[in-house]
């Protein structure tokens, strides 16, 4: 079974600077694999005979360290479209661009996605991709088992656990419970650099359908910040009184 695992390269949020005017500065942030995509990568590595990592993004994602990082996590090869025309795409355009990359990866039986990207966390690319490919999609997969051409998936929904059977090929997006990411060892890391990496530019132009009106750091809610030590006289009683007053 061949599985394409879609992942997103995102700036490390630890390095995102907030300027005085509340705008975000990503210039010092290094690119990393979006955290929850690591669960999809791990599950793909466990389930597939050949797991292919796929991604699209700006030309900066053609980064040797990032590519080795993905390949050190059990992926057999990598296909990416890296082009500044593909930077910051919305879910609709991302799905279209990903579909083109997946087409180049060869016939795949499943596309795995993570729970949501560290930046947008919209949980929409998986669904849009399924629509683009004309495939079923099963989201919130906490457990995935494949037998033959059928996948049996346990979905962790808000109010229930739902077991779903889906004929492959399908798009499946996983929750972090689906598989704990491996910690790549030196052997994996050294092997990663020798694996096939197929990097191309944008295959077409992908229409952007969302406008960002504003993107600013939130204004801090003014909190009283009255801090006391538990050992202070009457500290707990005063806190109890404050809680009662708020109810």
């Amino acid at each position: 079974m061949r599985i394409a695992v879609a992942f997103k390269a995102v700036p490390d949020s630890q390095d995102v600077q907030v300027a005085a005017d509340r705008t975000l500065d990503f210039s010092k942030a290094k690119l990393a694999i979006s955290e929850y995509d690591k669960n999809a990568i791990e599950l793909g590595a466990q389930l597939a005979d050949e797991a292919v990592a796929v991604t699209v993004g700006g030309s900066d994602i053609d980064n040797s360290k990032l590519k080795k990082d993905v390949l050190a996590r059990g992926m057999a090869r990598l296909c990416m479209a890296a082009d500044d025309a593909l930077a910051g795409l919305d879910a609709h355009a991302t799905a279209a661009a990903l579909a083109d990359v997946i087409a180049k990866a060869g016939d795949v039986d499943m596309v795995l996605c993570g729970d949501g990207s560290a930046d947008d966390y919209a949980q929409q690319v998986d669904v849009q991709l399924a629509e683009k490919l004309g495939w079923p999609v099963v989201t919130a997969a906490a457990k995935v088992e494949v037998s033959g051409s059928t996948a049996v998936i346990v979905r962790a929904l808000e109010e229930c656990k739902e077991t779903v059977e889906v004929e492959l090929p399908a798009v499946v997006s996983v929750t972090p419970d689906a598989a704990e990411p491996r910690i790549p060892g030196m052997k994996d890391i050294l092997a990663a650099g020798k694996k096939p990496m197929e990097v191309s530019g944008a295959d077409g132009s992908y229409e952007r359908v969302l406008d960002t009106v504003e993107c600013l750091a939130p204004e801090q809610a003014a909190r009283k910040q009255e801090i006391v030590d538990a050992a202070d006289d009457g500290a707990v009683e005063k806190l109890a009184a404050a809680i009662k007053a708020a109810l």
């Binding site: 609709h92 947008d120 929409q124 495939w135 808000e158 909190r223 910040q225 806190l239 109810l247």
Partner: protein, 293 residues
Amino acid sequence: MKVLVIAEHADVARELAGGARSLGADEVSLVCFGGTVEGAADTVLNIAVPEGALVDDAHATLAPFAEQADVTLVEATRRGKVIAGRLAAKLGAAAPTATVALTQDGARGTYFGGVAERVQKPATGAAVYLVAAGVCDAAQASGAGEAIEVAWVAPKRAAQVTATEPRERTAADPTKSDVVVACGRGFAAEKDLQLARDLAGKLGGAIACTRPLTEGVNWLPTELYVGVSGLTVTPKVYVAAGVSGQMQHMVGCNRSGVVVAVNKDKNAPVFKQCDYGIVGDVKEVLPALTAAL
């Protein structure tokens, strides 16, 4: 303006219908997959989900309605996200998520785990929005609620539900409680969580937790996790017990009325984001607080 509202919960359906009116809707159609909603919309679409079908697959049934609507509002649940994504894709759109506010300017949602708030709106004609519970005002909802029976349309290659197991709600729902006691890594042992339960019990509230307590150690079910990829809660009082105050967590509770922090590390970031802070071990402070109430 015609607005289509799609929800899984009756209370949220009412909120979204109210939100539709706030956006200026003169015609609201509503479909709710969990319970009846009366007097909230002009028309109510009754869709029976067949045995074995995924609620997610209602997109095929709803597509013609979405095509006719100017705006489609979908409750941001797991299933709602699939419905919204499918409808948006069919309309050549993408659905932005409103977790903070929904106005004519667009959907205001958290970005980068709360590092920023972002407002997005459709660049093209079709508008599909995902809207979280608590964002819109149910009071604005109105309408005669004329029922329209709609036959289920199965999508091609539909997946099948073979079993459903309700999640045991062992605790009260933090999104519906006036008091939430959230537990973080400051709890050294699972048995100490009882101290939080005792405090929540005394106040008639619910307990919740940070991500490491559901994922790392499995002490509490994932549905109690507050934060960017979990719940957003807005109780009158939020007690962050043994919670360090990482942004990924605080973004889920920072619109609470009063935030109380209990942490033994006086330098914990949570103390910069609370109204009342008490420096001490949760093992000592929580029982004392429960007793003092």
